[in-house]
């Protein structure tokens, strides 16, 4: 199919783009997406092009064109976009680049990826910051205002950073990013967003979201190769999006950070004073092939239409949510549903009749394992805290994407219902 045809191709036709396994049903894009054949081919081709040669590998490792192209898709410029190895690396480079000192407070949630919490704990040990961890509400009826209020009530005079996921991996809650960004701006705070699940799922204008930093995966909903990620750093001040001055940032791991002197003062306007993205991007030899493959995945997404993809992914998520609610009841859902703004394609639910099985990791893990072994359906289980409960809860999580269709979801949910009934 020619690139120009992608925007009008049917979902059945687009499904053919992907290197899907024929022997199973992939409903776990929250962990890893399926690469398009063209992405695989790009990675293979570029790997071969750069193997055994005497070419200068360093300039292409800065990915100037890929960063510009990808940045455009997310509403930002090349100097604000970095191709990194994964969301975890991006998160670490953001957190350790923050100018935090003893007594400064960071507010995060217990539903963050562990890499967020471990790196902030490192700062706590290293610099004496305070880390306040909130447990966000869960369930079908959760509303965005509750989440914003939870953060707002935790802010103190010493708070410097709000850290949250764009879409939480445990319950698939699409956090109210813009509302939290505005909250942070009202209090003069830095926003650090774990956007691992965002690219390829949501058609987002990162600048308009108003956040300061976001680390993303390239291999989940964006369907790039494993070992790819995107890192956004706000490098300009657009008053309508975020009028706060750019936060002081130390680009740890950098080849091209000045070896003498210091970079120019950070911009206070819509014009960049420096290419901070280059400082972060320059980190020794790069995987040129993987970067090219990620860029190809993004190019395909642009051709299909990111807005169209977002609608389809959310529709599939809604379809799954509806079917799961029919079979298991709304009370079984950990993921939001009543507030449309919080919905994502990821839906976490409790499969068993006995509510106490929600903290039976063995049973939930067995449920997921049997779905794979007996039905060739891939989902995953997640673990998280629930406000007011002394238990750690476990849930099954489905995460469809555009290569799935409603019939597959119907089939999977029916199989899950039968298996859950048997195991209950």
């Amino acid at each position: 199919m020619h690139t120009s045809e992608l925007g009008s191709a049917s979902w059945d036709q687009l499904r053919e783009l992907f290197a899907l396994r024929k022997d199973g049903l992939h409903l776990n894009t929250g962990t890893i997406g399926v690469m398009p054949h063209e992405v695989l081919d790009t990675q293979d081709r570029v790997t071969r092009e750069w193997t055994g040669g005497l070419m200068d590998v360093y300039p292409p490792g800065m990915y100037p064109q890929h960063r510009a192209d990808i940045g455009r898709a997310f509403g930002v410029d090349q100097d604000e976009m970095v191709i990194c190895h994964n969301a975890t690396e991006g998160v670490a480079r953001i957190i350790h680049g923050l100018d935090l000192h003893e007594g400064d407070e960071v507010i995060a949630t217990s539903h963050e990826c562990y890499s967020v919490l471990s790196n902030f704990n490192l700062l706590r040990n290293r610099h004496g910051i305070t880390l306040t961890v909130l447990t966000p509400p869960t369930g079908h009826d959760v509303r965005a205002e509750e989440i914003v209020t939870m953060f707002e009530q935790a802010i103190t005079a010493r708070t410097k950073v709000l850290a949250f996921a764009a879409v939480t991996l445990f319950t698939g809650t699409r956090m109210p990013i813009r509302a939290l960004s505005e909250l942070a701006q009202r209090h003069g705070l830095i926003t650090v967003v774990d956007g691992a699940l965002l690219p390829g799922m949501l058609n987002s204008d990162l600048r308009a979201l108003g956040v300061d930093f976001m680390a993303c995966s390239g291999s989940k909903y964006q369907c790039g190769p494993l070992g790819t990620g995107l890192l956004y750093l706000r490098n300009k001040v657009y008053a309508e999006h975020n009028p706060l001055p750019l936060p002081t940032f130390w680009p740890v791991i950098s080849t091209w950070y000045p070896m003498m002197g210091r970079p120019p003062e950070r911009s206070r306007t819509e014009v960049a004073s420096d290419n901070i993205g280059d400082y972060v991007q320059s980190a020794g030899s790069a995987s040129i092939a993987r970067g090219a493959a990620l860029a190809k995945a993004c190019e395909l997404w642009d051709s299909i239409g990111r807005d169209r993809i977002e609608r389809r992914a959310l529709e599939l998520g809604d379809h799954a949510r509806t079917r799961l609610a029919e079979h298991f009841g709304t009370a079984a859902l950990y993921s939001p549903g009543a507030d449309e703004s919080l919905r994502s394609p990821l839906v976490a639910f409790h499969p068993f009749r006995d509510p106490q099985d929600a903290w039976n990791v063995r049973k939930v893990a067995a449920f997921v394992a049997r779905l794979e072994a007996e039905h060739r359906i891939w989902v995953r289980w997640t673990e998280f805290d629930v406000p007011g409960s002394p238990h750690q809860h476990y849930a099954a999580r489905v995460a469809p994407h555009i290569y799935n269709d409603p019939e597959e979801i119907d089939h999977a949910v029916a199989a899950m219902a039968r298996l859950a009934e048997e195991m209950s």
Binding site: S110, N125, G128
Partner: protein, 543 residues
């Protein structure tokens, strides 16, 4: 007598040899609930496995022997194997398969045994001194233990105790199946794995329900999960024989190199009627054992702290004992402070150097060995005249050094006019005003709470709400290491300022253990006070 080490040249190993231990008694009861202190922990390792445990390393300064690994458990639960979550308040523990009790028909260890072992901690008969570590950590265990004691203290028969355990649950212990238990915590704790490596948390088989904890009947009915099992000899000797139910491939921490282990008790301890400065060096336990080792009557010292005094010092091990210290229960703070001010640490250090010459000692004015100076009450804040005419009882833990330290302190206090009676361990009577004891931390040095909380909250302690508040604050700060350490220092300061605990000596092993020339591979366990791992010992053929 030689210093023994794992780095010896290869020598022929004696097949079917029995290791002969020698040391001063008493021998601890094999019930895990009675396992306190390094000497007991050393014996427990022969037959008692816990969920987690410590590997040995020929170099005790290595990080390995202070880092717990899975023993009965399959893995150490962590965020990386989905065994714990971001809140650090829930741990999923799955048992390793193929571990059996040495019951007549070997029966696999299950999580029901794990839960039984933890529930037994609440019995009112044997209250383990480390219980506060666990009741402040495991959700619902404090309530369970309080209810247990209240319901059974008046009639603690085996039947009533077992009945209470059957009919009541610990809220934070969720049994998922025979192999898996979820442990929920009251609050995050960075040392939960270390706590579950304590011998007192060992699983207990259903057979223990027939006995009162620590009772004579249980002594002969104790069951093993380790490579050896205890045999109580008809003459009162103590022996361990190979446990036929033990499978080496299911035990990552122990081996079995011996046909058996025998413990002989040293008789003829020096008279305690002589003054502490008149100790007959030829009659001390350490030197008595050394003489018997030299003559070939025994292979390895037991319950004799310290290494070979003839061996060269090496770098300090990653463990320091507060040995000895005074736990002062007298209700009057002025009295406590005066008692603290009148101890003579230099004299006690000299005493320790003579009694236990292989264990270097330094006078301690702090509880934590690496702490900056803490407010130990000295002459400036203590008025010794308050001691005039008061009556004091002083008990000790029963070791030779503790007995002499009790006498030494008593002499000092008598000079201020106090009437002091020194009692031995286990004597009937009212609770002593002062107890001479030792505290060797069961975990690495980075976990101050393991050392301090048992000092702050010993069983039967007089009430101190401010101290309890400080302990609670320290526990609540566990997630923030720097805040937690500072909070534990506040606990230590409170103990010192109120003279509830009086540190006397810090002792850090620096030498190799003592054994006969037959002993090979005697590797110390830092978390058991540097005692030798008996499950790794081999014996060379006689030359």
């Amino acid at each position: 007598v030689t210093a023994v080490t794992g780095a010896r040249p290869a020598r022929p190993v004696a097949a079917g040899a029995t290791l002969r231990l020698l040391g001063p008694g008493p021998v601890p009861h094999p019930d895990p609930l009675c396992c306190t202190g390094p000497a007991a922990a050393q014996l427990a390792r022969l037959s008692t496995r816990t969920l987690f445990g410590y590997p040995t390393d020929p170099d005790p300064r290595s990080w390995r022997p202070v880092t717990p690994v899975a023993d009965l458990a399959e893995v150490v639960p962590s965020m990386y194997n989905a065994g714990s979550g971001a809140s650090h308040r829930s741990y999923v523990i799955t048992l390793r398969r193929g571990v059996y009790w040495d019951t007549p028909t070997p029966r696999e260890v299950t999580v029901h045994d794990v839960v039984r072992g933890l529930k037994r901690l609440g019995n009112p008969v044997v209250r383990h001194p480390l219980l506060p570590l666990l009741t402040s950590t495991i959700r619902g265990l404090a309530e369970f233990c309080a209810g247990y004691a209240a319901a059974t203290a008046a009639d603690p028969s085996a039947e009533r105790l077992a009945g209470y355990q059957r009919e009541h649950e610990v809220a934070g212990l969720l049994v998922l199946d025979d192999d898996t238990v979820v442990l929920e915590l009251t609050r995050p704790a960075v040392d939960v794995i270390e706590l579950l490596a304590l011998p007192c948390t060992a699983p207990a088989p259903q057979e223990y329900d027939e006995f009162v904890p620590g009772s004579p009947g249980l002594r002969t009915a104790v069951r093993s999960t380790g490579p050896y099992r205890p045999v109580i000899g008809p003459e009162g000797g103590h022996r361990w024989e190979p446990n036929p139910a033990w499978q080496p491939d299911t035990d990552p921490l122990r081996t079995r190199q011996l046909a058996g282990v025998r413990l002989d008790l040293l008789a003829d301890l020096p008279s305690q009627d002589t003054g502490p400065d008149d100790v007959d060096l030829g009659g001390t336990a350490a030197l008595g054992v050394a003489a018997r080792l030299r003559s070939g009557e025994a292979d390895l010292a037991w319950n004799v702290p310290g290494g070979d005094p003839a061996a060269a010092d090496s770098k300090p091990w990653p463990v320091t004992g507060l040995d000895p210290y005074l736990a002062v229960q007298h209700p009057d703070q002025a009295v406590r402070r005066a008692l603290a001010a009148l101890v003579d640490r230099d004299r006690i250090a000299a005493l320790a150097a003579r009694l236990e010459p292989g264990l270097p000692a330094r006078p301690a004015t702090t509880l934590l060995p690496d702490a900056q100076a803490e407010p130990v009450p000295g002459p400036a804040v203590a008025d010794p005249t308050v001691l005039a005419g008061i009556r004091l009882t002083v008990a000790h833990s029963g070791t030779e050094l503790a007995a002499w330290v009790a006498r030494s302190c008593a002499e000092n206090w008598r000079t201020a006019g106090a009437q002091v009676v020194v009692t031995g361990p286990g004597r009937p009577g009212p609770v002593a005003d002062v107890v001479v004891d030792a505290r060797w931390p069961e975990a690495g040095p980075q976990l101050p709470r393991v050392l301090l909380q048992p000092l702050a909250q010993p069983p039967g302690r007089r009430p101190d709400p401010e101290l309890d508040r400080l302990v609670t604050a320290a526990l609540a700060a566990a997630a923030d290491e720097r805040v937690a350490v500072a909070a534990w220092h506040s606990v230590a300061e409170r103990l010192l300022r109120t003279a509830a605990v009086v540190p006397l000596l810090h002792r850090t092993p620096t030498r190799q253990p003592v054994g006969s020339a037959r002993v090979l591979d005697a590797v110390p366990v830092p978390t058991a006070g540097g005692t030798v791992d008996l499950t790794g010992v081999r014996l060379a053929e006689d030359r």
